[in-house]
């Protein structure tokens, strides 16, 4: 039985087309459509309901040691209000999930995990906890809204004082205050996102989600802010070459194969030795620019010029801002440099593509 986020009724009223995703019912798009929503985020601003994400709290004397053990990232040098990206790996060196780690205090952290892996991650974590740590899954008591785009900060500044807005990328203000009439809403305001644009993610009490959403939408209307659904979320992240669990990552693929940050010469973590033992990776993640007509989608085989299968597509779509179809794929580590022409088998048709460097899109353009 799929669940509703606190903003479900709002989405319906706004004309959202509701679909099941990660155990929740969320809008894939609104009347505006995926392309318009995508372009809004690239040129003005977009608002996303991301309440389906999971939030896991770690507190106490052994919070750090547990997170150090579970995650690839070294958190020992983090400061209060900082965010780091990382992964949890399994004993084979594959990826359990990717996540961000928010440090509130030296002994208090919030891990934000993918909705689709929520239960799996919670089970994984509880199965590996040691020592004096207070672990709590607070997902049910956290709603999350993402405000993304070049105008995101302008919009937020209309509703918040300076002290509520994190100065630097990958930092957050834990007790931010948003001035909505007639009351103030508290939210953790993080300068992070999954669109490849500047912007913020706001974590608040579910009771405040509707008022926060409406306040942002109203305040941002003059700047071109529109609500955006999961469809645009996917085209945006893919255009920015950001990986998605279940596509670029899974229980078998290692961080090294995925080309994701993972130090093997630093602190220990679960799965580190297995990754080292895998040795030099046989496969690597690359970008494909589709030069033929059509869209290469996940699981499509990638073929070399002689028609031999050399890999597979992990994600693919049409990238509205760039104006071409793009895909991420796994191919052999050696050979096949950027510029190599390949073909993708799309439902029996061979469509030409060329290997390109990632990212496809960079916000500093």
């Amino acid at each position: 039985m799929d669940r509703k986020t606190p903003l479900y009724d709002v989405h319906e009223k706004l004309g959202g087309k509701i679909v099941p995703f990660g155990g929740y019912l969320l809008p894939v798009q609104y009347g505006t459509g995926v392309i318009t929503e995508h372009m809004a985020v690239r040129t003005k601003a977009g608002l996303f309901d991301v309440s389906h994400m999971g939030e896991l709290m770690f507190e106490g004397p052994d919070a750090v040691s547990n997170i150090q053990h579970l995650c690839t990232t070294d958190i020992s040098s983090m400061t209060d209000g900082q965010v780091r990206y990382g992964m949890m790996c399994n004993e084979k060196g594959g990826i359990v999930d990717d996540l961000v780690i928010c440090r509130m205090k030296a002994d208090k952290y919030m891990l934000v995990v993918n909705a689709g892996n929520h239960e799996k991650d919670a089970d994984w974590v509880t199965g590996h906890l040691t020592g004096d740590v207070k672990y709590k899954d607070i997902s049910e008591s956290v709603a999350q809204i993402a405000l993304q785009g070049p105008r995101a900060e302008t919009i937020l500044r209309k509703l918040c004082g300076e002290e509520s807005i994190p100065l630097r990328y990958y930092h957050f203000v834990e007790f931010g205050e948003i001035n909505t009439e007639p009351r103030r809403i508290n939210a953790l305001i993080s300068r992070t996102g999954y669109t490849g644009e500047r912007g913020f993610e706001l974590y608040c009490d579910p009771k405040d989600a509707v008022d926060l959403w409406n306040a942002l939408l109203m305040e941002g209307e003059a700047d071109g802010l529109i609500p955006c659904g999961l469809g645009a979320r996917d085209t945006l992240r893919l255009e920015a070459s950001m990986p998605l669990y279940g596509h670029e990552m899974n229980d078998d693929i290692s961080p090294v194969e995925a080309g994701l940050p993972c130090r093997l010469d630093g602190k220990d973590f679960l799965g580190k030795q297995a990754i080292i033992d895998r040795g030099s990776p046989d496969i690597r993640r690359v970008g494909l620019k589709i030069t033929g007509r059509g869209i290469a989608r996940e699981q499509c085989p990638v073929l070399d010029r002689d028609g031999r299968k050399i890999g597979w597509v992990s994600s693919g779509t049409f990238c509205p801002f760039l104006g071409y179809a793009a895909a991420m794929a796994y191919i052999p580590s050696d050979g096949y440099e950027p510029g190599t022409e390949v073909a993708v088998d799309v439902r029996g048709r061979l469509i030409e593509a060329v290997i390109v460097d990632l990212p496809f899109y960079n916000m500093n353009r």
């Binding site: 995926v34 392309i35 469809g231 869209i295 779509t317 049409f318 179809a325």
Partner: protein
């Protein structure tokens, strides 16, 4: 939901406009384009293709997925709308103006729905 009175409709959301007794124009309906979302590619049928009613005769691709377009009648394709190749979004913007193919020697259209029947059909699909 726009449903022009003078057209005929299939259960798979294609429309048929009779040009004369044995030739017609075919496209996808407003309901179809709304369901499909923003269209970014179309693979048109080829002039000369002989098609039976119920056959897949071309496909359209949105950001989300590829969808087959089913021929609502049997006949031979004698013209395709090449302007759609570079501007597939016309199918979204003007579904009843953006014809996909013209066919000749067509079979009867008795099996197809009229506007009122199609309206009821769509309402049932939405429910």
């Amino acid at each position: 939901m726009n449903i022009p009175e003078e057209l005929k409709y299939s259960k798979t959301h294609e429309w048929v406009k009779m040009l004369d007794e044995t030739t017609c124009e075919i496209g996808i309906t407003d309901f179809a384009q709304s369901e499909l979302g923003d269209l970014v590619f179309i693979n048109l049928p080829k002039v000369g293709d002989k098609v039976k009613a119920g056959d897949i005769f071309c496909d359209v691709e949105s950001v989300k997925a590829v969808s087959d377009v089913i021929s609502p009648v049997s006949g031979t394709v004698f013209a395709v709308n090449e302007t759609l190749i570079d501007a597939p979004q016309k199918l979204n913007e003007d579904p009843f103006g953006a014809w996909i193919a013209r066919m000749e020697g067509i079979s009867s259209t008795d099996e197809l729905m009229d506007a009122a029947e199609y309206k009821t059909f769509c309402a049932a699909e939405e429910a």
